[in-house]
Amino acid sequence: MLIPCPWCGDREDIEFKYGGAAQVAYPTDPQSADDAHWARYVFFRPNPKGTMAERWVHTAGCRRWFNVVRDTVTHTIRPA
């Protein structure tokens, strides 16, 4: 799979580490979050068949984190 790093361009997936779903907001004040709210942040992630916004880090390259939208069926990727 080729992953488009916004800084380095298309690179092989072995250069990257997967960061899971994107757009999972860190609760602004964790200490005041109730258990259900906090658990949703810690444990719940989408797992769609189709397009998914996700995070990658170019570990063996520029080490930058970035978001892409990937189709989990076809593996077509576009920048988020």
Binding site: L2, P30, Q31, D35, W65, T74
Partner: protein
């Protein structure tokens, strides 16, 4: 001899020698093993996998299911693909191939290539596509699995076109032609893996293409009838190839059995070669081969019957039966890229349905079967035999699967070809069912009364051809299997007989045996030196992250459970890190080196993960923090001088440094120089003893180590390895992340609430209030002393509360670290134990194979509980 007097693309100037099953033969350069054997009238090549039936050459290419041979270390090659060379020794396969127990002596390499257009297949369609693509100046790669480009054109009167076209391609600077190269896998974004065969090895090409042209042609498929597997029965197109390309007559008296026009060309070429065509049996004319007769040399006769009329049968004597049931476009690479297939009624085969982006299917692969001369075809699959016996109608020749097996699968109620494939094993042989798959579909469709297209085909998966492990590994074997990391001091360890252990990619000294000492004796000696005198350890493998920026201290406060804002420059502090779920992730010592300048150490194995973790938060959640991170793990050598007499060693090395306990206290940092070596000194301990970690840029590492050994010699200094390090730290109850912890352990579980700040926010803090993490009966870190101090608790042993409880027995914990002896004179262990802190003084049990070890629960510290030695 069945070698024709003339013709073929073989080099007749000098014969070469080879042997088969120990018998010497002669043939020519340009032969395959299959054509050479046919030229020498060797008809029986192998015995089939399950029924040990005689099998001969069935095809002239990669689809061969029968003629499997053993050559050197390769135990399952297709004779149709083995290029003959002088001295080749081959053995026909008897049943199943066996893996060689010898290391593969082949030389394999990996090649990475990029191009605009990758053309797979060098036949007419592929060469045409390559000519078109090369006009634009694009980088073009053409791969073809045969020794010569040309595909079915070879020996078929296309020589002039072929030579001109190849000359044109070869004159283009950006066109690369790779022969003997089989594209076997088509992956995301057009990564195509290609196996290139080379003398004594091969190359694995990883080609990244903008566009892939699938010009892979078509495989002829057989018709199925009783006893359709005898040597002498072969695909009609293959017989033609042997005559035209290799100048070999695969028989003397031939019968042709067909359902399409392609055999017209076959009959003409066989006749021209002097082979008597005894009959052409055409299902379109209402006739079929219903059975065959033979002996230990293979086919001797065919029995021909009417498809519709009465049972009048006639027998024809022959030694060659050329069979054509039509053609299957070779769409593996298209299908692997998620291309969908549809059944074409008129062509009686599966063709590409919708186009895939950047994948062009051309020629016979696209269903253009004009070149193969298919013409009109009457879809036909299986000739019924006498009565109900279908056990000699072979569908998959390599797997020895018959129509009877398919009917049995259907009888169990299976309807999906995927299920039937797995039940019967059709298509799971090393030939991947290239001549069997579509026939399986057609049989299923016929039996179920469904259209062939509705039944569909099984999914094509890589690899298209068998690929050796040696090719996949390339040079990544032996010492090159994985990078080996060594410290600056490594040569000294090697020279002094260290026994090494692997810690991630690092080679670390495990212990330093003297003479014929075993590990236990060495560790006792090393522990004694560290506890009573002075010893030295190479700690250079610790992960090290340089942290700089005005917001560094705020960043550290958020990352670690404890606070750093009170830590002065020139001091260090132990830190613990959790993930968002509140579980311990890593630990290490954080050093405050200067204004806005810090350095964090990590566990040896966790260095890369911690850096990624820090970067993740810095970049994704806190981009406002002005902090920069750099891995400096390899920049520093770390020589740990340990023991009550370590101060004397350091004093001798740094005479100008004030080194008494007040001037250089625990957790302080000093700068110094010895023998021209710049050194940063830290009073840190991982043993519980008075200790100094001496850091120097890696270049000086060995020199510093040697300086330490030299001044320590009068004091009896000795080196110690990771085993002694583990024993010393376990005696002090110091955890190792990844050994005591496993991603389900909180700082509180470890009895380390003292390091969890209540005054500031950090990652994972909120999770410590979750009902599950806050409950009192979680597993706690405890010490265990086996009642019999000679007994060793195995690490990982499960713990129970009763020595002989009835099943099911409740597991209440597990041993995380365990050692036979160190300083205590007895065995001891650390464990995670349910409500462990409430069980101090009680006895728990580890049921092992055949016996039970009883152990007393203690606090997780066995030595110097008040830290008097550490702070001395």
């Amino acid at each position: 001899m069945s070698r024709l007097a003339s013709g073929g693309r073989i080099d007749r100037t000098g014969p070469i020698r080879f042997s088969f099953n120990g018998t010497p033969y002669r043939a020519y350069q340009g032969d395959t093993l299959a054509s050479a054997l046919l030229a020498n009238d060797v008809r029986v090549i192998a015995h089939s996998a399950t029924y040990a039936r005689l099998r001969g050459v069935f095809s002239a290419g990669v689809e061969e299911p029968n003629a499997l041979v053993h050559v050197g270390h390769d135990t399952m090659l297709r004779a149709t693909q083995v290029e003959l060379f002088d001295g080749l020794e081959a053995i026909g396969l008897n049943g199943r191939g066996r893996l060689s127990s010898e290391p593969d002596a082949g030389r394999y390499d990996k090649v990475y290539a990029h191009c605009e257009v990758l053309v797979v297949g060098g036949g007419r369609a592929g060469i045409t596509a390559a000519l078109d693509a090369s006009q634009t100046g694009d980088r073009v790669i053409v791969v073809d699995e045969q020794a010569e480009l040309g595909g079915r054109l070879l020996g078929a009167g296309w020589n002039e076109w072929l030579e001109t076209s190849l000359a044109t391609l070869q004159s283009q600077p950006d066109v690369r032609l790779i022969r003997r190269a089989t594209a076997f896998g088509h992956y995301d974004q057009h990564l195509v893996l290609v196996a290139e065969r080379r003398p004594g090895g091969g190359r694995l090409w990883q080609v990244r293409a903008k566009r892939v042209v699938v010009a892979t042609g078509a495989h002829e498929r057989p018709l199925i009838f009783a006893n359709n597997d005898r040597p002498g029965i072969m695909l009609a197109g293959a017989a033609r190839t042997y005559v035209n390309r290799y100048g070999v007559a695969p028989g003397t008296r031939a019968v042709i059995f067909t359902n399409n026009d392609s055999t017209d060309l076959v009959a003409a070429d066989l006749k021209r070669a002097g082979i008597v065509v005894e009959g052409i049996v055409d299902v379109r004319a209402g006739e079929a081969v219903v059975d065959t007769g033979g002996d230990e040399q293979g086919l001797r006769s065919v029995l021909i019957g009417s498809l519709t009329g009465p049972d009048a049968k006639r027998e024809i004597e022959c030694d060659l039966l050329c069979v054509s049931g039509g053609f299957n476009p070779t769409l593996h690479l298209f299908s692997q890229a998620q291309g969908r297939l549809r059944y074409d009624q008129g062509l009686a085969c599966f063709v590409p349905d919708a186009r895939l982006p950047n994948v062009d299917v051309v020629g016979a692969a696209a269903g253009d079967l004009g070149g193969r001369g298919q013409g009109t075809i009457m879809p036909y699959w299986v000739v019924p035999g006498d009565g109900q016996d279908w056990s000699r109608h072979f569908v998959d020749l390599e797997r020895d699967v018959t129509v009877a097996d398919v009917r049995r699968a259907l009888g169990t109620g299976m309807q999906s070809v995927e299920h039937i494939k797995r039940f019967t094993t059709i298509g799971t042989g090393s030939d991947q069912g290239k001549t069997a798959g579509i026939n399986e579909t057609a049989i299923v469709a016929t039996q179920l009364g469904q259209p062939v297209g509705a039944v569909g085909v099984t999914t094509f998966r890589p690899p298209y051809v068998p690929v050796s492990f040696g090719l996949m590994a390339g040079r990544n074997r032996g010492d090159l299997f994985d990078p080996i990391r060594v410290t600056a001091v490594h040569p000294w360890h090697v020279g002094h007989g260290a026994v090494f252990e692997n810690v991630g990619q690092w080679k670390r000294p495990w212990y330093f045996p003297r003479h014929d000492e075993d590990m236990e004796a060495a560790v006792l000696r090393e522990c004694h030196a560290a506890r009573e005198g002075v010893a030295v350890m190479d700690a250079s493998t610790l992960g090290k992250i340089d942290i700089q920026g005005p917001d560094a201290v705020e960043f550290l406060n958020r990352m670690y459970t404890n606070a750093f804002d009170t830590l002065k420059v020139g001091s260090c502090r132990y830190g613990l890190m959790c993930k968002a779920d509140g579980m311990v992730f890593d630990d290490g010592v954080v050093m405050h080196l200067g204004p806005d300048h810090w350095l964090a150490t990590t566990t040896t194995g966790g260095a890369a993960a911690v850096l990624d973790w820090m970067e993740e938060w810095l970049q994704t959640e806190w981009p406002d923090l002005r902090v920069r991170l750099t891995s400096v793990t390899d920049h520093w050598a770390d020589v740990a001088v340990v023991g009550p007499r370590s101060r004397e060693v350091v004093a001798a090395l740094f005479p100008k440094l004030a080194i008494d306990a007040q001037s250089f206290p625990f957790m302080a940092i000093r700068e110094g120089e010895t023998a021209g070596i710049p050194v940063r000194l830290h009073r840190i301990t991982f043993s519980g003893e008075l200790a100094y970690e001496l850091w120097t840029p890696s270049w000086y590492g060995l020199k510093l180590w040697e300086a330490v050994m030299a001044v320590g010699e009068p004091l009896g200094i000795i080196p110690y390895g990771t085993e002694t390090m583990h024993v010393l730290r376990a005696e002090k109850g110091y955890i190792i992340c990844g050994q005591e912890t496993d991603g389900t352990v909180t700082p509180q579980d470890l009895g380390m609430s003292w390091i969890v700040s209540k005054k500031k926010a950090f990652i994972g803090q909120r999770s410590h209030r979750r009902s599950d993490t806050a409950r009192p009966d979680r597993k706690h870190l405890v010490g265990l002393l086996p009642v019999d101090g000679e007994q060793l608790l195995p690490e990982g042993a499960q713990l129970v509360s009763q020595p002989d409880g009835a099943a099911p027995v409740k597991m209440i914990g597990h041993v995380t670290s365990s050692y036979r002896n160190g300083t205590l004179g007895r065995s001891f262990a650390l464990a995670m134990l349910q409500s462990g802190r409430d069980r101090l003084g009680s006895t728990v049990y580890a049921p092992l194979n055949g016996h039970v070890v009883a152990a007393t629960v203690t606090e997780p510290i066995f030595y110097d509980k008040d830290n008097a030695r550490r702070d001395s």
